[in-house]
Amino acid sequence: MKKSILAIVLIAIFALVIIVFSSDNTDYKKLKRALKTSTLLVNPDKALVNFSLLDHNGDIFDNARLKNQWTLLFFGYTHCPDVCPTGLMDMNQLKKILKQRGLPSPEVVFVTFDTQRDSAEVLKSYVTFFNKDFIGVTGKQAQIDNFIKPFGAYYERVIEVEGKQKILTKTDKIPAGINTYLINHTAWIYLLSPDGQIFAGFPAPHRVEKMADDIKLLTQA
């Protein structure tokens, strides 16, 4: 009898030690399991490097602008026929749901892949159409290309030659006589934490109700 009590106590102590020493890890594991429509992207190896871009008012948009609040960040371009207006309308809807539920409303930032056509002015009239608080961000193409790396975002320009779609490489110039192009691109929405780092990502298609559920879990983790 005494032996079995001792065994139970030992097992209990052992279990407690395991729980205490691995609590940090199990917290994220639990969170990961609870998430419905997002992926946890916390990764110190993929920290956002120092960047300096331009917002739609022509002001500097750098690391400091992502600090002290949650941010939802989306990449796209204003000539985008389907994916970007869908994403921006989704984010407007999402903000309404978060407000209704009394949850923190993240800043929404739309970063263009297309600096050639998307000036600060163009971006301003575009993003504020969806929500007056949305922020459009542009810059030099090399700066944007550098900024998107830790997100794992990707884009490619597509032109039409003799009725066929052709994908251009990064260094290709738009040929003379071609006056428009599309951009194929990844369409994740990213959640950035108040320390200005990538925290989670929502792949397309975006289900706003489920996104709001996940944002509650993520911002309260």
Binding site: P85, M89, Q93, Y126, F129, H185
Partner: protein
């Protein structure tokens, strides 16, 4: 009697005309009729005043036993319309231009954001929410439809 006589006079040419017209009737029977295709809830997604392209969406019902193809779409006040498919390939959203959009026999094809859709390119001016855009759709069975699509500020036809 007189009436019968008159009838007799007219009967032969009428009968001959009928016989003569029979192949035409048969042909008419094989031809598409407007009720073969129904366009349900056409709408244009509202866009910023500087937008270079707008999305046009709808459901297309095919009430015939044959596949019907939408060949083209055009709209008054737009440079041109193009048929497209938004498709995710290895995580990248691609805009794939379509020569046509098929509607299978006795079924419905839905044009919606993130799937098949019509791109209305280069508007003379971007229409306001609630206004109507006059659209012309051409199908491979020889039919074309003129429809009014309302401009709506939403992503899905049934969301508000």
């Amino acid at each position: 009697m007189r009436i019968n006589g008159v009838g007799g006079i007219y009967f032969l040419p009428l009968f001959l005309a009928f016989i003569y017209a029979l192949p035409a009737f048969a042909e008419y029977k094989n031809q598409a009729t407007p009720s073969d295709i129904k366009i349900i809830n056409p709408w244009v997604r509202s866009a910023p005043p500087t937008a270079s392209v707008l999305g046009l969406f709808m459901q297309i019902q095919n009430h015939t036993p044959n596949t019907v193809r939408l060949l083209s779409a055009s709209a008054k006040g737009y440079q041109r319309g193009e048929l497209h498919l938004s498709k995710q390939v290895n995580g990248v959203m691609k805009m794939i231009k379509q020569d046509s959009i098929a509607i299978k026999p006795n079924s419905t094809t839905t044009l919606k954001p993130g799937a098949f859709h019509i791109m209305l390119i280069k508007p003379k001016s971007v229409p306001n929410i609630g206004s109507k855009v006059v659209i012309n759709l051409v199908f491979d069975n020889g039919l074309s439809y003129k429809i009014d699509a309302e401009v709506k500020a939403k992503n899905q036809p049934h969301s508000h």
